[in-house]
């Protein structure tokens, strides 16, 4: 899957959770969704993208991805 698609999907998830009054809840919500529903290959790819600067990712999504344990 192209990294642009992953960035768009992560940002879309972020737009939903941005409505959470507490920032920590939003970050946890995004991280939780990605951890539960993304394939390990997708998680590895997006984690690699964040490590490389995370171009195109919104703040919330970037923070959420950085908080995830490294995928196996």
């Amino acid at each position: 899957m192209s990294v642009e698609s992953l960035v768009r999907m992560a940002n879309d998830i972020g737009h939903f959770f941005a409505a959470e009054p507490k920032r920590a809840d939003a970050v946890a919500g995004i991280a939780n969704h990605i951890r539960r529903f993304w394939d390990p290959r997708m998680r590895r790819q997006i984690a690699g993208h964040v490590a490389a600067g995370g171009e195109g990712l919104d703040e919330l999504a970037r923070e959420a991805i950085a908080s995830l344990p490294p995928p196996q």
Partner: protein
């Protein structure tokens, strides 16, 4: 399970924000295409197209408002090309004020109309439910179906001919006869 109380408490309400679509109209794609169903065909019609229901709906048509039709020189029953950022297809026009100016509508019960060729890849973040209700398009009068539709119809004609051949060849042995 829910005797006396609900196991997870009463309903949990969340604040959500409106998230607008990224699909926008512009000068090149000034109309919004929305797709839908009609009662007499079920989903993509794989089952109902084989029934007499086709007497009510035997073709997907592009519904457009008289104002949009006039601007484009489109008359009732004309072939119209529908172009989006994703692709293009050709349908016959149905002029009606059931749709607002600026909005066009079609059903997706027939494969040759290819509504999914023009809809975008956008989908819901949680369920991946595709965004089939909002596609920016342009509509122009054309003289014939698009290239892919002509390929599709040629392919379909060949498959039907092969099926007929197989049915005839196997008729003596009962092959190809529907059971029951």
């Amino acid at each position: 399970m829910h005797v006396d109380t609900f196991v997870r408490g009463k309903g949990r309400f969340l604040v959500t924000e409106y998230v607008p679509t990224t699909e926008k109209v512009n000068v090149r794609y000034p109309l919004i295409l929305t797709t839908g169903r009609i009662l007499s065909q079920y989903n993509v019609g794989a089952q109902t197209r084989r029934t007499e229901n086709v007497m009510w709906h035997d073709e997907d048509r592009l519904e457009l408002h008289p104002h949009d039709a006039e601007e484009r020189g489109v008359q009732e029953g004309d072939w119209v090309g529908v172009q989006s950022r994703a692709g293009e297809t050709v349908l016959r026009a149905q002029i009606t004020d059931r749709v607002q100016p600026g909005v066009v509508y079609t059903t997706f019960h027939f494969p040759e109309s290819g509504a999914n060729v023009i809809t975008t890849e956008n989908s819901d973040w949680a369920t991946n439910c595709p965004e089939y209700k909002v596609t920016a398009v342009q509509v122009t009068r054309v003289t014939q179906p698009s290239a892919w539709q002509r390929r599709h119809s040629e392919f379909d004609r060949r498959q039907q001919a092969l099926l007929d051949q197989a049915v005839h060849a196997g008729a003596g042995e009962g092959v190809g006869e529907p059971a029951g």
